[in-house]
Symmetry: none
Subunit: 424 residues, 2 copies
């Protein structure tokens, strides 16, 4: 089993001002290809500390991924530390310098002089292209340890890690193979999903089955560890089939699938469109639908009717209904959905109104109360419509309540598109 270590560089990390999410992400990626991370180190922007950490890492494992400290400012010292442990001078990379000039030129400005340092790399190291920023990465070998240096900006780091680091280290992985698949569910809690999976999750099984939660999405992670890729893949397929059998339509996708992408695909397959009428989510549902490139094929227009007056003026929600039932009520989201569907001439309409907090709750409608309506054409006569309505109570803070509400609206639409009953 190949071992690796990680090193994060930055005062903001060492001082605890920023929580390091890069290393957790990289560890997951490496674990997924059967590489054991045996040490993470985090050091401040201090050249001696960075050098010491690189040397310590090189003595422990044959692979090191460093992130951070390659920005253009004086406190970015990873480049200098790498040069020092390599005992090599920093040299100018003309082609990256040209790329930097081009980067600034496109923005109609001259490159600031300080960015020139980002085109310098230690002699003997090679550059790793950064398509999302100015900090190119570096690759070098220190005392037999392969060292990758990536930017600390998560977005840039991830692109480069997936494109350059993973393929290269996967080729070296050797020995056992881990084949992994992750099934995604939304709507039930982690323990409810675990109960459905039952003894598939028992410890010590191979493939192993475990659950993780992120943003309300409960994911089932299956790892099959076998001597050959074929064995691993076959065992993985079997285990995944068993898990899907236990979870049924609760599984909306796997690996890179997202709920918005799955809903987009279902709509486009059916040549159907959806519109949105949002109050408490304030545009987040529309944002999720349009996260997916090409979503204009199924989403043309959405309405953010945050204020009651807007619900009336824009979507024709009856003012008396708003007064009698309140904005957070099933009759109101029903009227919002019907109004939006009529204006947008869409096949489906989703409406959301709720109390995202922190204020505005009451004993009968506490913070977290969210009403969602889905208006759809009747199967037997598409000129007739039906509406599915649900009231939820989501836990958490404002951000979490809004997120769960928007995802739940997508989940409801997905079950409708599948012609399946909603399990919650």
């Amino acid at each position: 089993m190949l071992k690796a270590t990680l090193l994060s560089v930055g005062d903001e990390l060492a001082l605890g001002q920023t929580v390091d999410t890069n290393t957790a992400w990289m560890s997951q990626q490496l674990a997924g290809i059967g590489i054991d991370v045996v040490l993470h180190q985090t050091v401040p922007d201090d050249q001696a500390a960075i050098e010491r950490a690189i040397l310590a890492a090189a003595s422990i494992a044959p692979l090191l991924v460093v992130s951070g400290g390659i920005g253009p400012t004086d406190d970015d010292l990873t480049r200098q530390a790498l040069a020092a442990v390599l005992q090599a001078p920093l040299e100018l990379d003309e082609s990256w310098l040209a790329r930097l000039h081009e980067f600034w030129h496109k923005r109609g400005r001259a490159m600031p002089e300080m960015n020139r340092i980002q085109a310098m790399i230690p002699r003997g190291a090679t550059m790793i292209e950064n398509t999302a920023g100015t900090a190119a990465g570096m690759f070098a070998t220190v005392s037999g340890c392969e060292v990758f240096v990536l930017p600390g900006v998560p977005k840039e780091m991830k692109i480069m890690f997936e494109r350059d680091v993973l393929p290269r280290v996967r080729a070296r992985g050797g020995g056992a193979t881990i084949a992994s698949r992750t099934l995604h569910t939304f709507g039930l809690g982690e323990s409810a999903v675990a109960e459905l999976l039952g003894d598939l999750m028992a410890r010590g099984r191979n493939p192993s089955v475990g659950t993780t939660v992120s943003g309300g999405v409960v994911s089932v992670r299956i790892n099959a560890r076998f001597d050959t890729p074929n064995q691993a893949r076959d065992a993985l397929d079997q285990a995944a089939t068993l898990c899907r059998h236990k979870l049924g339509h609760l599984v909306y996708g796997q690996d890179d699938d997202t709920l918005p992408a799955v809903v987009n695909r279902l709509l486009i397959d059916r040549r159907a469109t959806v519109t949105t009428a949002e109050s408490c989510t304030g545009g987040l549902l529309a944002k999720y639908l349009t996260d997916v490139a090409g979503s204009s094929a199924c989403f043309r227009v959405g309405f953010v009717v945050y204020h009651n007056q807007a619900k009336y003026e824009r979507l024709g929600v009856n003012l008396e209904m708003l007064n009698v039932y309140g904005a957070v009520s099933e009759p109101v989201v029903d009227a919002m959905a019907r109004g939006a569907r009529r204006l947008a001439k869409a096949t489906y309409a989703l409406a959301i109104s709720g109390i995202a907090g922190p204020d505005g709750g009451s004993p009968t409608k506490p913070v977290g109360t969210v009403c969602i309506a889905l208006t759809y054409p009747q199967d037997d006569d598409p000129r007739e419509t039906g509406t599915l309505m649900r009231t939820f109570n989501f836990p958490g803070d404002r951000e979490m309540i809004r997120d769960r509400a928007a995802k739940m609206a997508l989940a409801l639409l997905r079950f409708r598109l599948l012609g399946e009953p909603v399990p919650f």
Copy 2:
């Protein structure tokens, strides 16, 4: 200045299944009493790796705080590793064993046999009481380095850290205090901000000034390190004033301030409202505005006009204009903003249309091209309007382009509300 290192133990951390928040918290606590954290290490539940990390830490700094690996199960090995580096046997602590029995007795159960290990400590170490759980901590001296071992459960760790670790190390710390403040900017890159700050960022200065970037927000972190809290606060205030002087209105807030919250506050102070007309951002701008509780006072309605037909049907954008100039053009965002403002009867309107990618780019309008319009009332005659229009080229992927476009729209509105020229 006293230096310290931190060590976190746990497979879930090394595998990246859990993001380590303990070390960030501990680093902040230590920084607050003037102790420099020069290294964080994270290792899996592997005795050899824990031993190696303890010895490495002891060789670097005279203080080490370890968290995790002292639970009752077989994979908790920090206790054994500490004993190994101390070359001391584990011995039973009768008084803690009695406490454990009492803990379970209170819950009407007998102590599981496996928990007995939690009453064992290496000879020569002392126990640190845990009032919130069964994992007592340990204190020992390894090669002159004071080692505190605490549970990994954040709640238990924090109680013990504050009660036992902080007072003890404060007495040793030599009394320095660090006071910190972060100023936030949006719109210029990190190197442009650094150029404006000039030699305020020079290394070795106290207070120190450094920059970090997150989600396009370039933040300026100021740390003042002095003997007394008063000195630190005064020096911090002075340094912050200097930074603000260099950056001017580019600074939109500090510490917990967010761009949406600042824009909400400016609008509400002026009894003004804003509406949104979004194409490529698909609702994200409205979502940002409504991230802030109470935003219905300044944001009533927003339009997501993702498809060209929606721009025409909903906002009255001229079809010929769409054909001649294209949806991503200044005339079109101007018309979108004017249409939305009229319908919403809002003081201001922001419109965004762009090419978020990954497809849809062309040589003249590559992916990342985004047009933004802000329609506002003229100061001398509020019945008359003006429109500010800008075309940007944002780097990165679809998510990043959409994020930067929505934030840029907020930034433009902020400058208008301040009556200041837009610096980009």
